[in-house]
Symmetry: none
Subunit: 225 residues, 2 copies
DNA sequence: CTAATATGAACCAATGATGAGCCAATTATC
DNA sequence: GATAATTGGCTCATCATTGGTTCATATTAG
C-alpha cells in the first residue's frame, strides 16, 4: 500500500484544531491552501478534511470556507433571538391573550401601593401630550399592572414583549398611527382598567383590558384578527 | 481582507458604537460614507449595518439617517437571568393562563396535518409507560398544540416555558410526583383536549386544557393557587 | 502484477464582494 | 407650498473565492 498521506494530514489538522490554531474566527484555510501547505494534492487534503467533517469536528460551506464546529447549544438565547423578529399581528394576539388575564390576577394580588403606582402612571399619561412621553407612561401603566400581579415569570414575559415593541418596525408603526384622538381613547380605556382594579373586579378588569387591546389592534391594523 | 469583509466591518462598527463615538447626537455617518471610510462597496457596508439593526443596536430611517439606539430599559440578558430562576408556582400560574387560550387559538388555526401531529403525539404518550419517554411525548402534545396555533411568538413563549421546566429543580419535582395513576389521568385529560380540537370547539378545548393544568398543579403542589 | 492510494487537472455550484443604477421617504432650502 | 438634496431601500450584473465532483494517470505497498 502507498503511504497513508491523507491520514497523516488528518492527524496533523486534528491536533492543530485542538490546539486552537484557528479558534479566532474559526475559519480554516481554503482546501487549496491546506493542500499547498502540506505539499499534497488537493484531493488528498480533501480526504483528510472530509474525515474531520464526518467526525463532526469541522463544517464546510461552498463559497464560504471550512470552519471549526462551534459547540452547538440550543437554548434560551436562540429563543430570544427568534422572538425579536415576530410580526406585529402575532404580538398583538399574544398581548390580547395575556394582558387581560394579567389584569385579572393583579386584581387579586395587588397591594395598595401597587395600585397607587398604577394610578400615578395613569395620571402622568393623562397629563402628557408629547407622543414619546405619553408612550413611556402608557408602557409604565401596563408594566406596573404586570408587576402588581406579583408573578416573576409573568413580568419577565411582559418585559420580553416590551423589548420587542421597542424595536424598529414597531416604533414606526406606532408613530404613524398616533393621533391626539387615539391618545384620548387610550386614556379613557386606561381609566376603566384602573377603576376595575381599584374596585377589585377581576372580570371587569380583564374585560376592560381586552377592550383596550382591541382598540390598539384596530389602530395598528385597522381591523381585528 | 478577501473574505467576510462585512462581518469585519460589523465588528468594527459595534466597537465604535460601544465606545460612544457617535453618542453625541446618536447619528452615524450615512451608509455611503461608511462604505467610503472602510473602502468597501456600499452593499457590503450595508450588510454590516443591517446586522446591527437586526441586533437592535441601531435603527435607520429613510431620508433621516442611522442612529444608535439607547440601550433598552430592560435588556434580554437581564430577562434571561430572571426567567431561569422563577418558582414552580409562578410557572404554573402562567401555564394556566396561556395554555388554555393557546388551545382555543389552535382550534381556529390548526390545519388537518397539525391535528394529525397532535393526535400522533397523544397516541405515542398513551402507549408509553416509561416515565421519561412519556414525559417526552407529553411535552410534544403541548408543543404541537402551540405550533398548531400558528403564532411564532406564542410558540417561542412556550419554548421558554419548556426550557425552564427542563431545569434541574423541576425534573426532581416531576419525578417525585409521578405515578402510573397520574399518567393515566393525564392521558384522559389529553384525550379530552384532542377531542375538542378535532371538534373545533374553542371553548371546550380551552376548558379541557384548564382542567389539565389544574390537575398538573394539584399533582405538583397538592393544591391550587 | 494488482489493488489501493495519490496526483493533477478541469469543471460545477454556492457564496460574498463589488459597482452601478433607480426608487422612496425625509429634510433642507427657496 | 414647491423644489432640491440627502439618505436609506432595493435590484442587477459581474467577478473572485471556495468547496463539490469527476477523471485520467502516476505511485507504491503487498
Amino acid at each position: 500500500m502507498p503511504k497513508q498521506i491523507a491520514s497523516e494530514v488528518e492527524k496533523s489538522l486534528r491536533q492543530r484544531i485542538a490546539a486552537g490554531e484557528w479558534s479566532h474566527d474559526g475559519q480554516l484555510p481554503a482546501e487549496r491552501d491546506i493542500a499547498k501547505e502540506y505539499a499534497v494534492a488537493r484531493n488528498t487534503a480533501r480526504r483528510a478534511i472530509n474525515a474531520l467533517v464526518d467526525e463532526g469536528v469541522i463544517s464546510r460551506h461552498v463559497g464560504r470556507g471550512t470552519f471549526v464546529r462551534p459547540a452547538d447549544e440550543v437554548d434560551m438565547n436562540d429563543i430570544l433571538q427568534r422572538v425579536t423578529g415576530v410580526s406585529p399581528t402575532d404580538m398583538m394576539t399574544v398581548r390580547r391573550l395575556v394582558e387581560p388575564q394579567a389584569a385579572a390576577i393583579a386584581v387579586t394580588m395587588a397591594s395598595a401601593s401597587d395600585l397607587d403606582a398604577i394610578v400615578e402612571a395613569h395620571e402622568m399619561a393623562k397629563a402628557e401630550r408629547d407622543p414619546a412621553k405619553f408612550e413611556y407612561w402608557d408602557a409604565q401603566i401596563h408594566h406596573r399592572i404586570f408587576k402588581a400581579a406579583r408573578n416573576e415569570l409573568l413580568m419577565s414575559l411582559h418585559d420580553i414583549l416590551r423589548v420587542i415593541r421597542n424595536r424598529d418596525p414597531w416604533i414606526e408603526l406606532k408613530r404613524k398611527r398616533f393621533s391626539e384622538e387615539r391618545r384620548l381613547g387610550y386614556c379613557a380605556q386606561h381609566e376603566d382598567i384602573v377603576r376595575m382594579l381599584k374596585d377589585r373586579d377581576a372580570a371587569g378588569a380583564s374585560d376592560a383590558m381586552l377592550v383596550h387591546m382591541n382598540a390598539i389592534e384596530m389602530n395598528l391594523f385597522g381591523r381585528l384578527n
